[in-house]
Structure formats: C-alpha cells, structure tokens
C-alpha cells in the first residue's frame, strides 16, 4: 500500500491506524465491515445461482439425484465439514488474538486455519480422484458403469446423472477455488503479522475482514454438504 499515491495530506496520519479519507477509527471500521459484507452479499448471489440451479434440477430428477449421490463418500465429506468448522473456530481465535494484539497467538491460529484448509483440499483431492477412477467426470468419458453393480442404482438416468456430477464439480470446484484464494489471503495476512506490519498490528480489522471471508467459505460448505452428501431416500 505504500506504493499507492494518495493525495497529499498531513504526515500526522502516517502512524495512525486511521486512513486519510476517514475522520475516526469507528467510521473506518464500520465502513470496512460494511464493504466486506456487501462483497459477501454478492458472493451469496454468486453461489446462490448455483444453488438455485441445483434445486431446480433436483426437484426434477429426484430419484437420479439420490442414486447418483451414493457415489459420494459421506465419511470424507463429513470429515471435511469438521475440518472446515474447526478452521472457522481457529480463525475466530486468530481475530480474537489480533484484538488483544497477541502476535504469537495470531500466527499460531492463522497457521492452524491454513493447515485445516490444506487438509480440506487434500481430502477433496482424494474425492475427485475417486470420481475420475469411476469415470464420473462429466464430458465425453462419462459413464454410469459405477452404478450398475448395485441393484438400487441400476436404473439411473445417465444424462441426469451427468448433470448431477456437472453441478457437483462446478459447485465443489468453485468452493475449492475459494478455499485456495483463502489460503493465499491468509498467507498474506500471516506474512504481514510476521513482519510486524502496522497495517495489522495497529488495527485488528484487516484480520477480522479475512475472517469474515473465511467464515463465508465455511457457510457455503455448510449448505453444500447436506445437499450433495446427505440426500434422503
């Protein structure tokens, strides 16, 4: 941020956590939080579009949805859910530590959050690998062979199943992309803390904003998990 040329204003603000366009800290904090929430509102509409498409197709192809979802591993999905919930917990502890200006704890909790994120991605990798092995990736090589062994799923509609897996990959894929972005942002935040950058040490709000993003990613998964992995008979 030092490279951005701000219109000249008093040097007295150099060490203050309040940026030049704000009058006081409260105004700045609330502005940042509203800014972040309006950004999250658009993320809700972004993922929301996918949820809507999912709901429409599920209501149309209910049986196929049930049959197709048996290919998903509830244990892996459930583990991922726990991992993400735990990472939300460590994230909020990091924010808490930032409020108390406890650098060591912040770094510890940020590290834990990043660690959880990696665990999530690794489990996801194995899940995707399984799908590849069972030829369940949409495209020219898609096949419902995997479902032929079980009499309950033998009658699956192959085209609707392909739509199911299209949505599965689109939604969990986009979610995983947001996790990757989250790891990068968390990493950048941790780096600022490691270098004792005043941006984060004087003001807990940047840490809080990253936290808001991370919790949002968790909320998306909270809905993805039951919708894909826990479809009732």
């Amino acid at each position: 941020m030092a490279s951005i040329v701000q219109p000249g204003h008093g040097a007295e603000h150099e060490h203050s956590p309040v940026h030049h366009q704000f009058e006081d800290f409260e105004q700045q904090t609330e502005a940042y939080i509203i800014g972040m929430w309006s950004f999250l509102a658009q993320e809700i509409m972004f993922f929301g579009g996918l949820f809507l498409i999912y709901t429409l197709y599920r209501s149309r192809y209910q049986e196929t949805w049930y049959q197709a979802h048996t290919a998903l591993n509830v244990v892996m999905g459930g583990t991922n859910t726990m991992v993400l919930l735990f990472s939300s917990f460590t994230m909020v502890l990091a924010v808490h530590a930032a409020q108390l200006k406890d650098k060591k704890k912040v770094l510890m909790y940020l590290g834990a959050t990043i660690g959880c994120a990696f665990v999530f991605l690794i489990i996801k990798f194995f899940e995707y690998k399984e799908k590849f092995e069972h030829m369940l990736v949409p495209g020219p090589y898609f096949s419902v062979e995997h479902f032929m062994s079980d009499p309950a799923t033998r009658g699956i509609n192959p085209n609707a199943a392909q739509i199911f897996f299209s949505l599965y990959f689109a939604m969990t894929g986009l979610h995983a992309l947001h996790i990757i972005i989250g790891i990068l942002v968390l990493g950048a935040l941790a780096r600022h803390w490691m270098k004792d950058d005043k941006l984060v040490t004087h003001d807990y709000v940047p840490t809080e904003l990253v936290g808001l993003y991370w919790h949002f990613v968790d909320v998306v998964w909270i809905f993805l998990f039951p919708l894909f992995y826990l479809i009732p008979k």
Binding site: H20, E30, A31, S38, Q42, E43, F46, G48, L56, A170
Partner: protein, 569 residues
Amino acid sequence: MSATIVKPAEPAAPKAAKNYLNAEHTLKSWLLTGDHKRIAILYLIGVSFFFLLGSIFAGLIRIELTSPTGVMLESETYNKVFTAHGLTMIFFFLVPSIPAVFGNFFIPIMIGARDLAFPRLNLLSWYVYMLGGFLFLCALVFGGVDTGWTFYTPLSSLYSNSQVTLAILGAFMAGMSSILTGVNFIATIHKMRAPGMTWFRLPLFVWAHYATALIMVLGTPVVAITLLLVLFERVFKIGIFSPELGGDPILFQHMFWFYSHPAVYIMILPGMGVQSELIAAFCRKKIFGYQFVAFSSLAIAALGFVVWGHHMFVSSESMYQGLVFSLISFIVAVPSAIKIFNWTATIYKGRVHLQTPMYYALSFMGLFTLGGLTGLYLSCLGTDVHLTNTYFVVAHFHYVMVGGGVTMFMGALHYWWPKMFGRMYSDSMGKISAILTFVGFNLTFFPQFVMGWMGMPRRYHYYYLTPEFQPYHIASTLGATVLGLGFLLPACYLTYSLIKGEAAPPNPWGAHGLEWDIPSPPPSHNFEEIPIVMDDVYDYPEDGSDDDTPIERTEKGLDPLPDEGGHHR
C-alpha cells in the same frame, strides 16, 4: 447560500493553483493513484475509447442494412458485428459510464468527503475493467463472437465456433469491476457523509448512485456465475444447460436475464440522478417531490429484480409466469413515471436557463418518456408476441439507453466539464451538438419503431423478402450519420477547450451543491476543511436573487454577488 464568485474578467488563479490534475505529473502518479478524481479521468478515457469502438460497429450495422442484401459483410461477420456492438456498448460503455466517471468524481465531493471509502479498491476496479476490455479486444481480434450479446445456449455453450470463451472472460471482468465500484459506493454513502449531511440532504445524484450500487452488488454476480457455467460447458464439457442431457437452455435465459434486466436499471438510474441535478440547477428550483424521487430510485432497483421474465415471454416460459412478470413490469414503470412527473413539475414555474446541459436534460425528458412508454407495449403479453425480436424492441431500448443513458452522459459531461478540467467550452457549439444529437437520434430510431411494428425482425442481415423496409433503414442510417456527428463534435470542442478554453470559475452555472463551492479543478484533497452542512439541498432562493451565473451578471453589467464568507453549506 451564495457560491464563491470569481470575476470572470480576471482569469482565476486555477491555472497556477495546485489541483488534482497538476499535483503530480508522473505516469506512475496517475497509474497508481488513489485519488477518486484521477481514477474518474482514467475511466473517462476507457469508456470514451469503447464508445468510439461500439459506434464504429453501429456504423457498420447501419451501412449493411441500407441494402436488403447487405453491402460488404458476410452474414457471419454481420452476426459478429452486432454482437460486438452490444457487448462493447453495454459492458464496456454504458454500465461504467456515469457511475465510474461522474460517480467516482463527484460522490465524495457531494457528500463532503475527501475520497471514497476504499481508494485502492477503486483503482483495482479500473484495472479489472481495463483487463476485461483487453480480453474482449482479444476476442474481437481473434475472430469475434457471433452469439449476440445475450450468449443464448446452446449456441454459445456448444455450437458456436467463435471466441465465446474470451468474450465471456472480458464481460466477467467488466462485471467484477462494477461489483467493486458498487461495494465502494455503498460503504462511502453510508459512512462518509459530512456532519449535517443527512440522507435527505443528499443530492439526488447520490441517491441514484446508491440504488445503482445496490443493483451492481446484488445482480452482477448472477450473470457472473451464469457466464462462468457457459464457459465450463465449452471448456470442461460440464453441460448444465445442455438439452441432450436433460438440461434446460431456458434456465440459462432465466439466470442471464435475472441480472441483465436489473443491468438496464444500472444503465439508466445514474442518468436519472444526473437529470435531477441538471433540472434543479437550470431551473433554479428544488426538485419537486424530492423524497418521492429519492425513494423511486430504490423502488426501481428493487422492482427491477423481479421483472426479468418479460424477456422470455415467447421462449416457452410458462404463461402463468408470464402473467406475473407482465404485471410487475407495468408496476416498475410507475417509479420512473413519478420521476418524469416530478421533473416536469420542477420545470413548471422554474426560472429556466437554457444552456447546453439543459438542452440535454430537455432532450432526455422527451426521449426517455417515449422509450419508457414503448416499453409498456412490450410488457403487455399480447402485443409482445407480435413485437418481440423485431425492431420495435431495438428502438425501445435505444430510446431509453441512448436517448436516456447516453444523453445524460453527455449532459453530465457538459455540466461538470468546467469543474473537472477548469475550462469553459463554447456553449453555442454545445447547443449545436445537443440539437444534432436529438435530431439524429430520432431520425435513426423512430423509423425503427415503425419497421418493428410492421414486422422487421432484429438481428437479420438480409431482408430481401421484404424490401419495403429499405426506405426506413436508409432513413435510419442517415440519422445515424447525424447522430455520429452529434457525438463527434463534443469530442472536438471539449478537447479543444482543454488547450484553449477560458479558465472556469468555481461555479459557472450558478448552481447549488458542495461541488460548486470548491475551485475548478478541485484540489487533490477536495476540501480545505470538511464542511458542516446546515442548509437543505437545492436551496435556491424563491426570489431568484442569485439566479444569474457569473457570466450572465457580467453581461448585464451587474456586480458579482458578495461572497458570504466560506463553506457554510
């Protein structure tokens, strides 16, 4: 409240005074600026470029249509040209135009702030916009897109061989840019108003931009995900809209229009905000029914989200659904009509000053009304079956988007030019351009209403089976030439004014507003001291005592109004 008057006889100090333009001269200071005013100028350059590009495509379309069998383009190229025209004008000109240029420049000043809430995010918005523009230009250079700007599936997702992927990425980036601008405006308008600047003391320009920001933030992500899914279908073969798999191509249309209808309100609401400013200033009168106009902006934004189905009346949408959308489409016309009534009531018994911006404002009144009324024909299920996908639709949306949106862009440009650049332009040239634009525009698009009513379909390259439409097309092309001239002239005299124009006083129009209290061009930090707002908005005196602009006072031989000592507004 009297403006800070500077005697025009003495060229004001502005040329030498430090302002945001001459604060630093390096390229780096422009490309890494956090100053909302500089970013606005960067956007102005960008949108002007895309307007020129889009106009060239429009010119090509009009040339092609002068003959029933085309003139010089292959049909596939013609498809690419009208697609390029739509994409350029919508995503790269109209959506950013007023908000990114005038919103960025004036919202902080109008609310009494030093900058937007997030200056670096503002700069990022511009870079993302330019990246999107670059990707889109790549799409054009590598062969163009032939799907229409609406990207209907399965043509766009499966069958088209054109640069759909690149074009989608470009549009996606442009959308991202507008989302970030929206986030910035929302935080700014909520949290950065000066002491005493209550919501109901805000200029209507700010209300309009708040409503626009709401739409940008809540609507744009939907088209983002929709286009992304089309991209996935092309690249990864993930077929969500694919009919062979039991997918529904109409679902694409639902998702696409869920954004694209509110998008048209993104394109008009800022223009309506400008209109409020122009009418108030040039009639020296507070806008009639200020609160109604303010809330109508919010109503348009909210209602605009639930009318998207009127674009799908004939694409196998359930007719019961169509009934609902038809009804709500009629209802959404009401807040717009309220604004027109209130502006008319403001002009009535106002003290009208006919200068260039007012010409554009009056032009808007007529053109937008006609555009809006013809929209009702399209909202009506029965008539829409006849009129849909004809030139009637084309004429309707050009009346509101060009007659409304672009006219207001020009009006804003002419109104705020002296403030932004500290130079006056020739008012008579301005008036001539406004008239040329008005005449050219009507000549271009009114025949299209007639043609559409008679059945000429849109997006058709050849019409040799119905050559009776040719005279209308020729009239339309003639009009387009005049219209082009009307847009070209300002490019010339405004640029000329930057070099040879007279220095502008802080308030050349005699208008009321925080932006007119500061020098032209403004200093980098906007205000010496943050103003404490005690007066109401648009508080023009009833007796017309400060009616005349400084220039008019000089012409009449009157003394300049005494300066009441500073920033008390």
